[in-house]
Symmetry: C2
Subunit: 316 residues, 2 copies
Amino acid sequence: VVDADALIERLVSDSRALPRLATLVENDDPRGLDLLDVLYPRTGQAHIVGVTGPPGSGKSTLIAALLKGLRETGRRVAVLAIDPSSPLTGGAVLGDRIRMMERHADAGVFVRSMASRGRKGGLAWATAALVHVLDAAGYPLILIETVGTGQDGTDIAALADTVVVLEAPGLGDGVQAIKSGLLEVGDIVVVNKADQPGADDALRLLRAAFALAHPADGRVVPIVATTAATGEGVAALVAAIDEHAAWLDHDGRRIHRREHAARTEILTGLRTVFDGRVDRQTGQFEHLTTIISRVASRELSPRRAVASLLDRLAGS
Amino acid sequence: VVDADALIERLVSDSRALPRLATLVENDDPRGLDLLDVLYPRTGQAHIVGVTGPPGSGKSTLIAALLKGLRETGRRVAVLAIDPSSPLTGGAVLGDRIRMMERHADAGVFVRSMASRGRKGGLAWATAALVHVLDAAGYPLILIETVGTGQDGTDIAALADTVVVLEAPGLGDGVQAIKSGLLEVGDIVVVNKADQPGADDALRLLRAAFALAHPADGRVVPIVATTAATGEGVAALVAAIDEHAAWLDHDGRRIHRREHAARTEILTGLRTVFDGRVDRQTGQFEHLTTIISRVASRELSPRRAVASLLDRLAGS
């Protein structure tokens, strides 16, 4: 039986232990997953910040500037960068940039890049596991970088306590950005590249849109202008993140948030684990495979199949 | 009780019936979903072709050319275009183009565009339902257009009988495209914009990569060069689709494929329906919500939660 205290002590004292555990977990190695089960009760201490935004919004530069700004407050920070699936959006850029930084980095920064390429689903499930590892290793702040679109993006954003959504001038119609649903998940909105033409218009439009929104929880989403390349506005973004963290600590908001994260993680996990096991071995999951055959042969409608499986999952 | 025969007769004879049912189903309206349950046993007749490729590969132009090529063989065709979630990739382009075509279209073509914007997950689940509607309405060929990356993209591709993956010269390193996993799901690979510089290199590289692949099922993935803008190569693509359809009709391959599609649809549905219901009403799903609370409070690890829920789902 492995002891959580000894394991955490090891993660803190041996600089090779954390990357090694992260690799085991990322590769779905049962040795890593067993250790994660031991560590899990000790997680939940970190504040998790998701940073999301479209290609071209300057996300990689902002993450680097934010890391510097957060380090200036004396806190240890871990960064988890999720490369986008598409080979065309240049997902390696952030990874490369951060690996370069890492060489010069102090012991208070840990950077991990996770490739989504070639991975068949399960990106949010794997991301959650790595976040728990970083959390257990004692990093009080964890930044997750993600592209933020599609189911994967929404799921990864749901793992964070604070979601920072990036916008930048010149990426398209600001009203469309509001419609896209990306802003809906944001706790903080950043207009990056604030020194570029159109930034004032983007800020004005976003402020007007949010002024109309009347959020149910009464919280006004702050809109922060940054120029990540020069560091302008980054201190204000750090302050906005800390304010949101403090706000979460009232009226059970953080618990509510964590339940939403747990729900997303479990539903993502159900699917990922089931898919993986079905690929590896048939004959197991008899009830489920029977239902799948009946749907494939048009005996049972997908809606009725889902309703019956949900009843089974839900039953007390 | 609604009768499937009468319903299908209505979908065929009244041109407003199909778009109306599609809207009800897309909006998750129980009236539409009930009708779909009635129709479901009559589906499974259509051959479903997924067309996927990165932005810039000329997907919209190819879909239009393919539609024309398929119509020339005399078959009725339905097109379901899924706009990408990102407001920045210009998802409206295909929709606009096809809506324009539609005005002049014959009765043998039905085009439906589904917005993914603002939709909170469940894209593949909604897509599957619309495919069943088009299938029940008697279209022997259904084209689904999708961006193809991320979990949504993989799920939507899994609904198709034949997946056509588009490449084009000049979009990046061909080897990266192979690594991305997009090609792995392709039954047919198209190098579009074959008249542009670099097309020959892309073709050579793809042929070399696939020659090394030795597919388990013994089928060699055809690589078709097209210039969608002029129609060059489109007839060869139509032939390749028909060949794949004929190949599926041997050795139980189509049934195997349909079971894979049903599995994806059910797992996507479980998640979508559960998410939706939890958002609407609490108090239901007692067992599941208890498990979520225990994970959120760190009493139970996500992996153990998932294992216990899977056992429940799987048990005979």
